[in-house]
């Protein structure tokens, strides 16, 4: 069996940033396991710009952003293995991996960092009625076909779901000469970033129909048309509102699901809200020495936040390996209510907490001129007005350690959205 201090599962933005931070924290034996043929993860197919505004104060393409981190991994001579699939992770941190070159092998890891990313919700999970012809893709699959393989899926496109990848692909397909007829979104608001709606739809005159969904798919061999209809408050299609669009391509951008099959098999406890592991202030799961970061933990809006979070996972894993993390008892539970859907992390052990701790969360609906409130037990300690909050964008609050230590016996922190 091989031995490494830290094994990182996934060589995308989360895995890379975690590796670099762990090395900076003085860990020598780090191994990144990546299933694809190169490091960088999904960023490699995101050839549009707009990455890195927060981290690097410039607009990079996905591959450029990834390369900033790949360069550091290379400079630091951090080991990585490509085309390698992790088949299993055990609760005692034995990682079983496989590749053409190395066969199937096991690694005893001092700490494991889960950085497997997420996958797209497929058509089947959406229960869209109709035929099942060729021409229906999740937006990310189409993005890979166009940007990596260099092939166009079709000429006339309808997009269901206004997640960021769908918005980006609306523009991409248009630039490649396809006609994107409409983007339909089930919810009364978009799941994507405002800037993507402006730059990818509005700038190209592509209509976005909120509170609409696909109610029929036609075509026995290949897609020939879809029908969309308006939906009521319960997301049920409203009879009489059907509109038929002839098209040969239907792209789906209806949500991302953290890919936690390995985590689950290892016994990692999951949040039913994020579909990611439940983690404490150190981004450590219920299994000691197993950490999580990036989209496998919760789906992020900006990669900058992935990198930042992953670096913390890397630092904490380093502390764990060096025996510098005290026992993972939790003093404080963090609850999200009243419009705040979840928080990451969801528990705090004050001894292990850094001076500042970023709590990230998402809201469940669009809130205008509302307040993000934080309660320490029953006392409101923060009440910040936000002009607009939407489910497509992550929110954050920063907890200061000295404020928490001022409240001995503090049991519960609550994050909620208040109208006044």
């Amino acid at each position: 069996m091989l031995n490494y201090d830290i094994v990182i599962v996934g060589g995308g933005p989360a895995g890379l940033a975690a590796a670099v931070a762990a090395r900076d924290a003085g860990i020598d034996k780090i191994l990144i396991l990546e299933r694809d043929k190169e490091l960088g993860g999904i960023l490699n197919q995101c050839i549009h710009n707009g990455f890195g505004l927060h981290t690097f104060k410039e607009e990079l393409t996905g591959p450029e952003y990834a390369y900033r981190f790949i360069e550091k991994v290379l400079e630091a001579k951090i080991e990585y293995r490509l085309n390698t699939m992790v088949m299993d992770i055990s609760a005692d941190r034995v990682v079983t991996a496989m590749s053409r070159e190395d066969g199937m092998y096991q690694i005893q890891a001092g700490a494991v960092i889960l950085a497997m990313g997420c996958r797209e919700r497929p058509r089947g999970a959406l229960n869209i009625p109709g035929f099942r012809p060729a021409g229906i893709f999740s937006a990310g699959t189409a993005q890979r076909l166009v940007n990596i393989e260099g092939y166009m899926p079709g000429r006339e496109v309808v997009i269901l779901g206004s997640g960021d990848i769908g918005l980006i692909m609306a523009r991409r397909m248009t630039l490649e000469g396809a006609k994107v007829k409409v983007v339909a979104e089930l919810m009364p608001y978009s799941g994507g970033l405002k800037r993507n709606i402006v730059q990818c739809l509005d700038d190209f005159g592509i209509p976005l129909k909120l509170s609409h969904t696909v109610v029929d798919i036609e075509g026995k061999d290949h897609l020939t048309a879809v029908t969309i209809a308006a939906v009521d408050e319960k997301s049920k299609p409203i009879p009489g509102t059907e509109e038929r669009y002839t098209c040969d391509t239907l792209l789906l951008s209806c949500g991302l699901i953290p890919e936690n099959e390995l985590s689950r098999n290892a016994g990692v406890e999951m949040s039913p809200i994020t579909s990611g592991p439940i983690v404490n202030e150190s981004l450590e799961t219920n299994i000691p020495g197993v950490f999580a970061c990036g989209n496998v933990l919760h789906v992020h809006d900006l990669v900058d936040y992935v990198s930042e979070e992953a670096a913390r996972a890397g630092e904490n894993a380093a502390k764990y390996v060096k025996g510098q993390l005290s026992d993972a008892k939790s003093d404080i539970e963090i609850t999200a209510t009243d419009g705040a859907r979840y928080t990451v992390p969801s528990t705090i052990n004050i001894d292990r907490m850094d001076d500042k701790l970023t709590l990230r969360f998402r809201v469940g609906a669009v809130y205008k001129d509302s307040f993000v409130s934080v309660y320490f037990d029953d006392e409101r300690v923060m009440h910040n007005k936000k002009r607009i909050m939407a489910p497509g964008e992550m929110e954050q609050v920063i907890l200061l350690k000295n404020k928490l230590t001022e409240k001995p016996g503090l049991k519960k922190i609550t994050v909620k959205i208040e109208s006044e």
Partner: protein, 486 residues
Amino acid sequence: MIYDVIIIGAGVSGAAIARELSRYEANVCVLEKCEDVCEGTSKANSGIVHAGYDAPAGSLMAKLNVRGNEMMDDFCRDLDIPFKRNGSMVVCIHKEELSGLQDLYDRGIQNGVKGLKILTREEALKMEPNLSDNVEGVLYAPTAGIICPFKLCIAMAENANVNGVEFRFNTKVEDIKKGEDDLWHIRTNNGECVSRYVVNAAGVYSGQIHNMVCKDDDKIEITPRRGDYCLLDKEAGNHVSHTIFPQPTSLGKGVLVTPTVHGNLLVGPTAEDIDDYEGVNTTADGINDLIAKANDHVKNLPMRKVITSFAGLRAHEPRHEFIIGEVKGAKNFIDCAAIESPGLTSSPAIGEMVAGILKDMMGLKAKSNWIGKRKDILNPSDLSIEDRNDLIKKNPAYGNIICRCESISEGEIIDSIHRPLGARSLDGVKRRTRAGMGRCQAGFCSPKTMEILHRELGLKYEEITKCGGRSNIVIQRTKNQKGGEC
């Protein structure tokens, strides 16, 4: 070339007949309108090996169901495909309908079904805790089982092919005439085929095929009876361990809930008679209906775990009986028509019966070199780490995982392409290996599988299809890749 036998249709019936006929000295050809075997009724059904208590006593359906069920263990062992006798339960939720269970039991005994037992509410809940709280009693049939319909059909066809049966795909029968030479002349979109004997195993089209040769007063009409299904993630695969049926109605056996032999949970089918012989579209009403019905008998169904929904067509004939035998006034033309449920279960017995009829009519002699066994595509997950490493050393493609959801390697996909009657499309690969059948529904692996099909079959990307015909995945190069456009 004049064939001894032409079989129309490469579904489970056609494939089973082809395999049984391949035991004998005869030139046999299967004509299939689609690009692969198992493309019609056989590909979208419950995957159940029924015990045999449903069909009326004395019917051909009852006889072939029970016989097919008995044959299944040896059959699946010889063909190296998974089969599990998980047992079925017919659940009664209304006290006043308990007598219906007794009727089914009695019929089962008449049909020769072994091991049937009527369970009390308590006995049933002990065996299957997720049964509805309203359960009053259960008919338990331990001989019922679950099977992969794709694997069964593909394995039979492949084995037939190894034993000399020819398969012509993308070949649709347009007309059939008895020539002056007393041979059957079959016109297809790919030219004429001539044969001494013909078997009609055309599924929902078996009525049309029958009516091409029968007398005017002997026409049959097959109605496509659509059934919608939902397939759930393997995480939900243990929700029940038996196949759970409601009590049957005139429309069939009703909406069942069952684990699949691969470990998913399957819920369905609905039953709706339609006009479209290719109408495999699901409907919102159908899916809502099946969810409501399934919840009557099984509680807490995790419908959020649906990974795909699909619809299949049953070849329904008003008499609800298999039609097997020589067509009146059409000498040497054998029907194998109206094969609806329990057709999958019965298929080995249907093969035996039809091949038996032909053997007697034609005086066929057994081959001395018939190969009755085949090996399925290797499943590396069954191997120890050491054995898996040996395998990867010999063939590194087994170390390269293509489908991450189902853990399918490149080696398995290459095997599925190059074995007899190999895969030529994404669906072909999927049905042989399960690559793309998991929770991401081929989102990640389809570009990689396309690359393998491109390399192994020399297909251009634009020629690679989902399931033959016009189901191509991509249409052309992107601007950048075309090069030099100013």
